[in-house]
Amino acid sequence: MGLLIGNNKGNMTTSALTQGLERIPDQLGYLVISEDGVLASAGELENDEHTAGVIMQMVRTACRFRQQGAAEPPFKRMSVMLEDYVYTVTVSGQKVFVVKRQNNKREPVMV
């Protein structure tokens, strides 16, 4: 279940933001963060403002990277890979989306 903290600024309703995240198959939790704070959180990331703060700093740093002469940051998604799980992070419409997923270390089967 999701928990709303703070104002919902923007065009999307909170449930529209989080529905897509809920449906990610191996997700263990998620965060939706705006400049003002955490908009929504769930699962293992419920109320986790500390993780939200750390990830915001990482995102701000990463968004400053540029390839030679490019105007846009050179990535769509940032993955913070830990032993058993991964934080996948992206930015859309002034909001940072974080999903904690199971880290599957199996080699993909080539057919």
């Binding site: 998604r77 930015v91 419409g93």
Partner: protein
């Protein structure tokens, strides 16, 4: 660097030993009485000292140029005005807005994770880089400080 400095600001550490000196040419050298080796060295040393002093700014100068009271007050006012201006513009700086990386956040986050083989490869490259950097060292060939001996 040269002699075109404002004399009020740049007071030389050592006054010029021979302001009107001209470079010795061979005829002058042979016609003048042979100066003792000691004086030559002295003159050379002094000119080296002088050239070095030209390029050094002594921040611990014993007799700092005194400033009159009103000059001091003027400068103080000038600096605090400038500071006030700068601190205004600084406090108004807002954090840069985050660029949008995608219009499909759910799709991007649901996509396949980074393959484990890629992670292994990057870790290996990082380990090599770390090893290479840790091997950077100074290869000292000679003594850094030597004694000059004048025979």
């Amino acid at each position: 660097m040269g002699n075109d400095r404002d004399p009020d600001v740049y007071k030389p550490l050592i006054p010029h030993p021979n302001p009107d000196s001209k470079p010795l040419n061979s005829t002058e050298w042979s016609s003048a009485s042979v100066p003792s080796a000691r004086t030559d060295e002295q003159a050379l040393l002094t000119s080296i000292l002088f050239k070095t002093a030209l390029n050094i700014i002594d921040v611990s100068a014993a007799d700092s140029q005194g400033m009159e009271q009103h000059e001091y007050m003027d400068k103080a006012r000038q600096y605090s005005t400038k500071l006030a201006l700068l601190s205004n513009s600084l406090s108004q700086k807002k954090p840069l807005p985050l660029p949008s990386l995608t219009s499909q956040p759910h799709q991007v986050l649901a996509s396949d994770l980074v393959p484990y083989s890629d992670v292994q490869q990057v870790s290996k490259i990082a380990a090599y880089a770390y090893s290479a950097i840790s091997q950077i060292k100074v290869d000292a060939k000679e003594e850094l400080v030597v004694q000059f001996a004048i025979p």
